[in-house]
Amino acid sequence: MSDFKLKKWARSRRGQQFFVCFSFMVLPLLLLFVFTYLPFGQMVQFSFYKMKYLTPPDKRVFVGFQNYIDVFKRDDCFKALKLSLYYCVGALVQLVIALYFATILSFKVRGGNFFKGLMFFPYLISGIAIGFIFKFFYTRGFVLDTVLGFLGVNESNIPYWLKDQAVNNWSLVATSVWRYFGQNMVLFIGAIMSVDSDLYEAAALDGANRWEQFKHIIIPGIKTILTLNVILSITGSLSAFEPPYVITGGSNGTGTYFVIMNEIAHVSQKVGLASAMAVVLLMIIFGCTILQKLFFKYVFKDVDSQDEVSSKRRKNP
């Protein structure tokens, strides 16, 4: 092949590559820009203004950092952030339950598939349907109270599940655990199944009991995904939104940060303040994510390389 032809071939291949890259990326990137990065930029910009949705650009009042100061000073905003502690505790309980059942259901159990399906199904129900289901569930004299009555609890000792401020946040957290623990469980089952099954057999031959198997094989085997989920549950509880939004609407002290933000944005139309709230939370979430990345980098350095070795071994037995 002559030198000229070679160049031409390279050019045309290059050209084709450029064309395909361009045409396959232009739409996803456009959507990403219009619905993610443009709103993000605007959010940062709006957070310095006092404005409503329909305020024309020249009528907006520049207020500097006042919105940010308000986020920390206003009672409702910052108190709401404290509510995420409830959701954090709930998320950790959820992980423990999920891990427990994942361990049970990864091995032969009678009716295992049935229970797995039963516990997973709530994940497939829409948030609004869950809202109705649990309003009904918690209403005075309805499902939960009736069941407690069967168990012999006197109705006068039962709190108002959604009104009493001592319990209502726990009631909401419970709905979130109910909805998601099955999903976490399925995720853990997947991870446990991908651990080399020879290990369990060897351990059983050596006379290890279930607890020892759990401690020495399962936990190390799924360490990475477990830690990832612990960290995800922290960022997740900071942005808790659905349970209070659909069940109580944030009344009686159940309004989490995002519920308050949603109300400030779409009901009171204080777009600037809502934007500042969003930016503050995004900063916190970014902070958590960076910590997570560092954590993985330093704590799981050797675990990752082990994973690689074992996955290679699995591919070429």
Binding site: R13, Q16, F18, F19, V20, C21, F24, M25, L27, P28, L31, L32, V34, F35, T36, L38, F40, Q42, M43, I97, Y100, F101, I104, V109, G111, F115, G117, L118, M119, F121, L124, I125, S126, G127, I128, A129, F132, I133, F134, F136, V143, T146, V186, I189, A191, N209, I225, L228, L232, S239, F258, M261, N262, A265, H266, V271, A274, L281, I285, Q292
Partner: protein
Amino acid sequence: MKKHLTFGGFIWNVIQYASLLFFGFLALLPIASCVITAFKTEEEYRTTSVMALPKSWLNFENFYRAFTTANMGRAFLNSLIVMVCVLTVSVILGTQLAYVLNRFAFRGNAFVRSLFLIASLLPSVAMQVTVYKIMTSLNLVNHLYGYIIMMCGTDVISIYIFIQFMENIPVALDESAFIDGAGYQRIYWQIILPLLKPAIITSCILKGVSVYNEYYAANLYLMSKEIRTISTSLFTFVGPMGNQYNLICAGVIISLTPALIVFLLCQKHIYSGIAAGAVKG
């Protein structure tokens, strides 16, 4: 494993089944109570205990009333339109993007990847504060197509699933097709896309469930009654009908039936999809 049951093993078995039964019961109770209530007549609902079984399991009147009051026929049609459009577009865009990102080492490849990764960190509820403003200025609010366009915004999990799957499709396949004279477009449509089928099924199920159940943005952007989706049609029961739980429960049961059918038909795919979606991060 042959084993003779030890005392500890026996206790463990008891605990295991007891906990399964208990949590299985807890998982079922809220839904079961809803089903029970949905079959009760107005009078039964008012006079009997919530957990008392209905007289007849063939009383479908609540379902009929819920279906018509909330205009759920129309809502099912809307949900179907939204799902078909969103899934088609996002599968094509997602696989094309994954193809380009996986096969070509152009400048900016890593940058594009990180753009999508960072985007996945932004919680969608927070973004709606300003997305709402953009939707208004593009005149996309209160139109089904506007909502569809917004929902097509590529989601990272499925791109991730596609890229991972692409890594197991040998590059030699592309190469030989290229030498045989196929262009990249043709390689994508005739070789890559068909081979990605398992990943496409997984991502369709995951995204399908989330689109079907989406209600926050649907409620924000689809105000008119005739363009409500299934999940927002349930908002009909907020307010004056707020206490008629026999009717509401029937509506809830209708809305979750399609999800139940899909779940029973493709459990395996859903479980493996959940596991595949977990590797992001």
